[in-house]
Symmetry: C2
Subunit: 224 residues, 2 copies
DNA sequence: ACCTGAACACCGTTCAAGT
DNA sequence: ACCTGAACACCGTTCAAGT
């Protein structure tokens, strides 16, 4: 994998890809806040200047790392022969949900723009599958971007939650505490929230995400 | 408004609310990146320690500022006598969309948790309106949170776009450039994106948001 | 072309001291 | 209780110098 081209170069030559891969790992380990150039140069056994030779700055590096996460998830997707468009759309969205859930720092940076080729490819897939639907063509753009935004928005929200979790406290514990706080609110001003507080306790973000997608797909079908 | 209690105190006494208000203004002016304690203490004519007396740290301050934005938008809402639940739901969501669009730094920080009382109140309103719908009660929780997440997610995405805009370049210009880049992609690998590129050029984020909401509401009705 | 590492400017936070 | 402002630790970025 590591090629030694040139003489004064290090044996395991640095490259944009090596830098980005290290960034993804460190972001996974320390989050966006804890991800520093100090950590990065230590892991890569190099100086700050070396990193800046391969990427413009930290912002670009995080962007590249985000796009890589999406690219890897897309590459891992297995085809589903015989499945209809809606089924494949659900699989695609769930796969991306899991990837963005795992790399919890990434979602807020996902933008469907030419600066992120893999995010672009993701929008393309969503759009193609929407186009296979019975939905009239003039609604394809709005439907595809809405679903794309829903995916990214929900995962970004979930990751905001994940950031709050202190080490030592489990996610379920925290949800339980929050549910208790909801239940303890004044039912006069919070009739709805107090009523559904219990559902928050034993709810799964992932299931909730699918439910939202299904409601959306129902809406599309109703437009048939 | 400004009370002089105590002797050694400044005439225009600091308070949590004054600090948060100044934070909102500075965040509007400089974005989250440009918002520093140096700027804040200059505007408030005080030292860093004074701010830390009223808020725990910068994170809490941004959170308080975010919740204030939501609170102000909720307070500005006018009742719509005679309108049905769906209409009022759309009004509510659009009002919040506009508020989060104006304060472009806020959306990524919105979380429906007890730490953000006004965000909590927003979820309550969404949920109450959903509950007025014909939707069966067991779906209320999922539907309300999905809509809430869609609102926050979309506005967070839009704000990510807004951050990219360099001063001097208008938003329409930038959209046009991006649309051109979409159109220039290889139609073989990007059949969908190249096809809808033109729609990106003359699309409105706000209209697209409503379209998404409507598709969602259609889904709810289909479940009747 | 690619890498090193010291130097710079800046930023969030703390804290001893004041009223 | 509330405020001041200097001091500290840290961080992203630059750059002259090396191969």
């Amino acid at each position: 994998m590591s090629q030694t081209r040139g003489r004064g170069r290090r044996a395991d030559a640095l490259s944009k890809d090596v830098v980005v891969r290290a960034a993804v790992d460190l972001l996974d380990e320390h989050g966006e806040r804890g991800f520093t150039f100090k950590l990065l140069t230590e892991r890569l056994q190099t100086g700050a200047g070396a990193v800046y030779w391969h990427v413009a700055n930290k912002d670009e590096l995080v962007l590249l790392a985000t796009d890589k996460v999406i690219g890897d998830a897309l590459a891992a997707l297995r085809p589903e022969p015989g499945a209809d468009a809606e089924t494949r759309l659900r699989t695609l969205l769930l796969t991306m949900y899991d990837a963005l859930d795992q790399h919890f720092w990434a979602a807020p940076h996902v933008v469907a723009g030419s600066a992120m080729p893999n995010a672009m490819l993701l929008l393309e897939r969503v759009g193609s599958l929407i186009a296979e639907t019975a939905l009239p063509a003039r609604r394809h753009f709005a439907a595809a971007t809405a679903l794309f935004l829903y995916l990214v928005g929900v995962t970004a929200q979930d990751s905001a939650h994940a950031k709050t979790v202190e080490p030592g406290v489990s996610r379920d514990e925290l949800l339980g505490q929050e549910a208790a706080r909801w239940a303890a609110l004044d039912p006069a001003t919070f009739p709805f929230v107090t009523r559904v507080a219990a559902e928050l306790g034993d709810h799964s973000d992932r299931d909730q995400f699918i439910t939202g997608v299904d409601l959306f797909l129902d809406g599309l079908r109703a437009h048939g």
